[in-house]
Amino acid sequence: MRLRERPQSLSAMPTRLQRAVGMAVMLSLPLAGGIRLAESVLGADAPGGVAEAVAAAVRLATAGPTGGQAGLAADADLVAAMEPAMLVPCLAAFAEATPAGVNWLSSGLDRAVEQLGERVPLDELTAFVADAGRPARGRVLAERWLRSRAPEQAAALLDSMLSDPALPLRRAAIEKRLAAVADAAEPEQLAVHREMLTAARDVDQVQAIAAWLREHGDAVDVSEVLGFVKQWRASEAFDNVGGIGFAAVYPPEEAAAAPNVADWKAVTAEGDGGEVDLNAAIGTRKGVVSYAVAEVDMQRGRTAEVRIGSPCAVVVWINGEKVIDREIYHASEAIDQYVGEATFRAGTNTVLVKCCQNEQTESWAADWKFQLRICDPLGTPLGVQP
């Protein structure tokens, strides 16, 4: 591989942390968090080169969506030329990473690890990965480097990660635990699978473990494990001919926080996917809109993710506040297809869903349904129905 001319060695730069941070401030970069981060990570007596690298890493991590990309590419070059001692401090910059920043920082760090070769500090990386309090993105990246260089060392870390906040690490830990009992007696396998069912958060992993348990005699209710909201009341149908219904404000959404459901039909979500089938509940119709309402109790007020899947256009309100609106018809469907963040109060909350069916006549466009669950960011189901 041709090598780009390497920037001056960072360790040779006789700078101090304050100078690095001051330089970044002069560049008007979003460094408030970066300053705190650099100070907390490094302390005032940190070598100057480390501070320079961390300052560049923070600039990368906090990158905005557009503009200034030449400067970011230069920062990535700076990070890519780092010395071993700078790697873990730079990984800490993931704590405040934007979507663009994740990629800027990881691309610079990946190049750094390539450049460091055998000098990658494996023990420091191991400690970083093992610390669940460190940024999940950084730990996942570091685990990938570790896995390719010291696979046994990386695998050993997984044993304590069954409830890890970094989902890829948790997933790998669950896979390892299941593999470890693959040849064990059935009672032990059953016990471990039951335990892993409660640990898993990725939907496909939950489904796979549940399928194994069912094959071995357990009556697993997957919809309960995934926490779908099951008890609903559905409205009459409103007009959606020509697609007018998505934008139309029908009476239920005029009072989205407390719609009048006196005449609405009770509907129970069915199947592993917790689907509310409006064709079954209201009758197979085309060019129509229906509303469905559910009550969900929370032990305490909090923000949470509302996750809905539907092949139809949908709008979701939580206590009258619109949190999701997607005017997409029959382009796919999946659990957790659309995700919105909502504020829930302690006690009873009102979930209102508007589900719009269009007039497509193809057989694959017949479904008029949705599924909804409320989760924390990891996918842990939240809330109970009264």
């Binding site: 780009r4 990535a76 979507p99 663009a100 190049r111 990725d202 997409i328 999946a334």
Partner: protein, 412 residues
Amino acid sequence: MSATTLLSGFFRRRWAATAAAGLLIGAVAPAVAGDWLGFHGNDGSGVAQTPIRRTWTADEGIAWKVDLPGRSVASPIVVGDLVVATASSGPKQDQLHIVAVDRETGELRWERIFQATGRTLCHPTSAVAACTPASDGERIVALYSSCDLFCVDLEGRLLWQRNLAVEHPRAGNDVGMGSSPRIIDDAVFVQIDCQGDAFGSAIDLATGDDRWSVTRAKIACWASPLEVDLEGQGTCVLMQNPRGLELRRVGDGTAVWLWEGDVGGIPMAATADGLIYAPTNGVAALDPTAESGRPQWQQPKLSCGISSPVVFGDAVASLNRGGVLVVADAADGSVRKQVRLAGTFWSSPIVVGDTIVAVNMEGTTFVVESSGDYAILAKNELPGSFPSTPAAADGSLYLQSETALWKTAAAE
């Protein structure tokens, strides 16, 4: 812009063109010798000159094979001494890979892994890595179904990125996005056609900033933009969706030609000798400088399925999903030959030297004469599913399955 609008008989299609629009001249800039820089070739024509070997198996006639780090239905590209492929991996397919291997040896030169910022759901037959990357010979741009666009240099150094679904939160399609970027005049052209935030943009290749961006119809489409030089208007980009075709000036995005009709949402049009060969009820040959929007000819037997047509010499060929290759006269659309291949085709035919090359999903590559009797010269089988259009450069074919990349050895 002064435009005229005419109804064109039973096609009921609207034509708009500038009065100043002159002749459509030779489609695109000449190809860089020995490279294959984007979907369907350097200029989208799907034509390479250097002949390839006609036979191979997994064990013979193969220069190298490499496994991909994930899943892909995109095509590889050939840039200098690199072959570049994309893939996605992870439970949510949100790890986006760009892989560069040595063109001669297949050895890994570098790999970059990015995190998707947009939607990564897609139909099982597609993949998050569905858009073929593009290159100007110095930089590589890779677009994914998540609407993430990355620009790296030939050493894998990230130069800029655009997280287009962050900028346009309703952009995306859970069937999967598949339109490939095209580089024209140092700008990257992307078509984000979907039911949500649909748009087309010209993005400066050097900076990653928008040169212009236009809102597009909220309808899904997987076809890729194509370069067309239109005299009087300069270089234009052709963008299509199921409702029609439009030409926009590359420089400022001004629309200079619009043709409304039922156009395929997946196959990309072709262009040669002043005509646009549009996948619409077979293929229609359109002259954007003509006063009438009526096609010069239309041949329903040139059914494209989801494969893009290819124009070569005085012929045009299409391939339907059922495996019937139809060759017609490019001047009048008259059918010269129908060749029944076999299998299901998701990839597009290309023309290499004096042969037409078509790869079915089952991994059989058909090598067919590109003139005369259009005889099938060889059927070469490789293991795996092959949804990707092959690349051809310097006498080798680069065949990509969903999980591996193969290079054929030099011609016998």
